[in-house]
């Protein structure tokens, strides 16, 4: 039998983490599926389990100084119900897993699991989300891209918890999200694309785009985005080959059970093209 902790408050959880290496258990949908596979096989965890998904402080969603603060243990269903979460993000979440899994799975878990196919990540990268990390000694804040280190590797130390995700309170004129999977419900992502833009008088005033499942971590290229911002729709058509070449260099997908590198790359480039050529329509 594994040992377990079930603290009532965040400070108590941090105190436990300071003294014990723990496996942090939030919704459990990734960890249990990984560890508990097979009929009547009891899940075995190396470290004591630290249950955190009942802690109120980690479930709050609030608007402060025009930023949305999302508690790491807010479930995907709770995000869908919240009036503070932008429709552009809800479009993403609605395509994740299934309702019973969304009732358990947390945003913090999706981030910390650090899968290249994690469906919340392209949006969070596109919006330059920040993550708040707490330990008993204090709080630090990191941009999401620095928190995700590599597939299945996040930037948490043993004594730290991801406590909040901070997003700018922003909506865009154009929201173009495509998730490619084998079917619509319950599918894992082969490739995903999120393009967001604001347009005024025939030119682009703001733009960000991120790609999932096509490299070890989410792909985003600010330099290329800067090239596009300020351009008229006509100019964008002209510089399109340069832009697509740039993304072609940085998209480095793999072959795996879900798809092939060739398909992933081809479809990602086409999605970028569709998004950019669609800006003026």
């Amino acid at each position: 039998m594994v040992n377990a902790f079930h603290p009532e408050t965040l400070s108590k959880a941090l105190e436990i983490l300071a003294e014990n290496p723990c496996t942090i258990m939030a919704g459990g949908t990734d960890l249990m599926a990984q560890k508990a596979r097979g009929f009547a096989i009891r899940p075995v965890f190396e470290h004591p389990l630290l249950f955190i998904n009942h802690i109120d402080e980690l479930k709050q969603i609030s608007l402060e100084d025009n930023e949305i603060h999302i508690g790491a243990c807010a479930t995907l269903s709770e995000l869908l119900e919240s009036q503070l979460i932008a429709d552009t993000f809800k479009d993403v979440i609605r395509q994740m897993a299934s309702p019973p899994i969304r009732n358990l799975a947390t945003i913090g878990g999706n981030i910390c699991n650090a899968s290249p196919a994690a469906d919340t990540l392209p949006y969070l990268y596109a919006l330059d989300a920040q993550v708040e990390i707490q330990s008993q000694t204090g709080l630090r804040t990191l941009p999401i891209r620095e928190f995700i280190k590599a597939p299945k590797t996040n930037g948490l130390q043993n004594n730290e918890l991801l406590t909040h995700i901070v997003l700018p309170n922003k909506e865009f004129d154009i929201n173009f999200y495509r998730k490619l999977g084998q079917r619509r419900g319950m599918s894992l992502t082969k490739a995903s694309f999120h393009g967001l833009a604001n347009v005024t008088n025939g030119s682009v005033t703001d733009l960000c785009l991120a790609l999932g499942s096509v490299a070890p971590t989410i792909v985003r290229c600010e330099l290329t985005e800067q090239l596009l911002i300020g351009q008229s729709f006509i100019n964008i058509e002209e510089i399109l080959p340069t832009v697509l070449n740039k993304y072609s260099e940085i998209i480095k997908p793999i072959d795996d059970a879900r798809s092939t590198a060739k398909y992933r790359k081809e479809v990602s480039i086409r999605l970028i093209k569709n998004f950019l050529l669609g800006l003026g329509k």
Partner: protein
């Protein structure tokens, strides 16, 4: 680990491995065999129960996270008027063939209608997207849910 929780409206205090799956606790320790194990990884929905009124895959829930929670399985839900409406709807539509997936579909239907008493066809499909059925081809189940909504009008 000692945990207190409510199962089918009765309070329980048990000693349990915190990583033990809720699915195993319900089937092996409480004999509640309406809860089926299909895939064991959250894909099929055969093990869906209600936790605080919401559908969850019991194969993905570690017992350490059910402290203070209210778990309802089909054994309890079948005593309600809502269940009767769903049962009648499923029977009249021919939504049950082998029956293995049916308890999960019934619990997912309850969770769906509880949140959205008047779903569109598309919303029903979305609401039941976490349940697999290898017999019916789903259309009869969607029809069953719609008949249940008619028969149970006002219950949700």
């Amino acid at each position: 680990m000692k945990i207190e929780f409510y199962l089918n409206n009765d309070p329980h205090e048990i000693e349990v491995d915190p990583a033990y799956r809720l699915l195993d606790l319900l089937r092996e320790d409480f004999g509640l065999t309406s809860v089926k194990e299909g895939c064991g990884e959250g894909e099929c929905g055969a093990c869906i129960v209600l936790m605080n009124g919401l559908a969850v895959n019991s194969c993905l829930v570690p017992c350490g996270s059910i402290l203070g929670k209210h778990i309802i399985t089909l054994e309890e839900f079948r005593k309600t008027d809502r269940y009767e409406a769903i049962e009648k709807g499923f029977m009249d539509a021919g939504a049950v063939q082998c029956g293995f997936c049916t308890p999960g579909f019934v619990m997912a239907t309850e969770s769906l209608l509880n949140q959205n008493p008047d779903p569109t066809d598309e919303e029903i499909r979305e609401g039941l997207s976490g349940n697999l059925c290898r017999c019916t081809g789903y259309n009869l189940i969607i029809k069953g849910v719609k008949l249940a909504m008619e028969k149970g009008a006002g219950l949700w």
